[in-house]
């Protein structure tokens, strides 16, 4: 893992999960797993978040909310789909109200498997997200320079 230049902030949203993955995401921010010790902070505000953790698949009502939250986050941003529901729809794939994974509405960068995803796997997903975030940041800077 590359050295962190900045403290990335997380935002968590529950697409239509069963709570299993949600409480594991929360468990990552509390003692024992505690990603806050790396400077990764869990915020509740989309306007200040760099990484979006989504649990659960997308249904007709959460679709617009997810899109809105995604559009509110500043560039560059990374999306992590946590749990098999968020990746593909999982056990709920055949439900009448589930459209599928998160990538049916917004672009997803990292997929974390598991039902429920274990905290270790979620942290690994976040670490991968950090690298992608750094790359996006560099691209963003370069584009800005080229434009100026």
């Amino acid at each position: 893992m590359a050295k962190l230049a900045k403290s990335p902030w997380l935002l968590h949203y529950d697409g239509s999960s069963c709570n299993g993955c949600d409480i594991e995401v929360l468990a990552c921010t509390t003692p024992v797993y505690d990603i806050e010790r790396f400077g990764i902070y869990n915020t509740g505000d989309p306007f200040q978040a760099d990484i979006l953790l989504i649990t659960g698949g997308i249904n007709s009502q959460s679709e617009s909310v997810v899109k809105q939250i995604y559009s509110q986050m500043p560039e560059p941003k990374v999306v992590v789909a946590v749990g098999i529901c968020a990746c593909t729809g999982g056990v709920f794939k055949e439900c009448y109200n589930i459209k599928g994974g998160v990538d049916t509405v917004i672009p997803v960068d990292v997929y974390v498997p598991g039902c429920a995803a274990r905290p270790q796997a979620i942290i690994d997903g976040v670490v991968q997200a950090l690298e992608i975030l750094q790359k996006k940041r560099d691209d963003f800077e370069q584009k800005k320079k080229a434009g100026a």
């Binding site: 968590h12 949203y13 529950d14 697409g15 239509s16 999960s17 069963c18 709570n19 299993g20 993955c21 949600d22 409480i23 594991e24 929360l26 468990a27 509390t30 003692p31 024992v32 915020t43 509740g44 505000d45 989309p46 659960g56 698949g57 249904n59 009502q61 959460s62 909310v65 939250i69 056990v91 709920f92 055949e94 439900c95 009448y96 109200n97 589930i98 039902c115 429920a116 274990r118 905290p119």
Partner: protein, 359 residues
């Protein structure tokens, strides 16, 4: 009269781990009306019984909610077992009781943490969740899963516990109980916590019954009712009294949940002492034909499981009424007249589980 304004609350909100939306009609800082709208996590689980056979559906039932996952699996299995006249072996019943009480401990600790977080008491939040990890480690060791561990099956359970594991469990319970003491003291005696919770969202016993409150909500209003007293699984062999409190305010609800933690430790100890030897599951033959209504006490209150079989391997209907569904009307009436700043706290004190409610 002051001007009324409508303030939207949710679905994405820092204090809510789950999406729920409320339209709060406010006069200055006072809420005069709260209109909930739900459906953000509706998946349509009940209809899946038509596509998954009744044995596979156990895994779906366990994913109704990740917090009380074990209880949902157990409630569904018990209902199907009743329809099929299956006698579950006593050891399986005891194992179910032990896991159910462990789930209650983890759920209540989770709630206490979220409450502390809503109060802005960060260290108390972290302490509660640190304790909770010990129970999750036990689940991990016993079953291989932390929150969703799928050990229920129709006719019993899938995993047995060795004497060694039961002994370790008792040791861990002792540890948790010792470490819970200072947390308990802080919740019940700390001036800051009490000043936020006392007198907030009072629900009288009559209102609680009339509006259909269940679980700790109902017991905090002084009504002595607990579905565990009906004696399903191994609860009939164990000694327990419903835990009640008088005031019916948020403080009382917190107190009831804290004391239920101690009660759960006691029930686990009793169950481990009495657990009989024997098989953990019986073979299942045939398909369910008939209907049954089963109820169990989940950490959040009483839950109903209705199944209707038609003699094929696919059930006709599965219906689930969860505790949060029945706690929403009392919550809405509590919100009327409260201060805007207290809304998140009041919502939390019913211990909402949206994903159960909407399924």
């Amino acid at each position: 009269m002051a001007e009324r304004s409508v303030i939207p609350f949710g679905p994405q909100h820092p204090v809510l781990p789950e999406p729920v939306h409320l339209d709060l009609v406010c006069e200055d800082e006072t809420v005069v009306e709260a209109v909930p709208s739900i459906g953000f996590v509706h998946r349509g689980l009940e209809k899946l019984v038509e596509q998954k056979d009744f044995k596979q559906y156990v895994y779906i039932a366990e994913r109704v909610c990740g917090i009380c996952s074990f209880g949902h699996g157990m409630g569904y299995c018990q209902a199907v077992e009743h329809v099929m006249n299956i006698e579950v072996p006593p050891r399986a019943n005891y194992l179910r009781t032990i896991w159910m009480e462990m789930s209650r401990v983890h759920s209540h600790l989770l709630w206490l943490g979220l409450l502390a977080d809503a109060l802005g008491f960060e260290s108390l939040f972290m302490q509660s969740w640190r304790l909770r990890e010990k129970i999750l480690d036990q689940f991990d060791e016993m079953t291989g899963g932390r929150v969703i561990f799928s050990v229920n099956c129709i006719g019993g359970v899938l995993k047995d516990l060795s004497d060694e594991q039961l002994k370790t469990l008792l040791k861990v319970i002792d540890e948790i109980e010792a470490e819970l003491k200072p947390i308990l003291r802080t919740f019940l005696q700390d001036y800051t916590v009490a000043s936020r919770l006392r007198g907030l969202g009072v629900l009288s016993p009559d209102d609680a019954i009339a509006q259909g409150a269940v679980g700790p909500m109902l017991r905090a209003s002084g009504v002595s009712y607990d579905a565990r007293m009906t004696g399903y699984a191994a609860y009939g062999d164990l000694e327990m009294e419903p835990i009640i409190s008088k005031d019916g305010d948020s403080y009382a609800r917190c107190e009831v949940r804290l004391k239920e933690l101690l009660q759960s430790f006691d029930l686990i100890r009793q169950a481990v002492a009495k657990i009989p030897a024997g098989p953990i599951a019986v073979p299942v033959k045939g398909n369910p034909n008939g209907e049954y209504f089963n109820r169990i006490e989940q950490p959040r209150g009483e839950a109903f499981y209705y199944v209707k079989g038609n003699g094929t391997k696919f059930l006709d209907r599965f219906r689930l009424r969860t505790p949060t569904t029945s706690n929403i009307p009392p919550m809405v009436s509590m919100l009327k007249g409260c201060q805007l700043a207290d809304v998140p706290l009041l919502i939390l004190t019913i211990d909402p589980c949206i994903s159960c409610t909407e399924r």
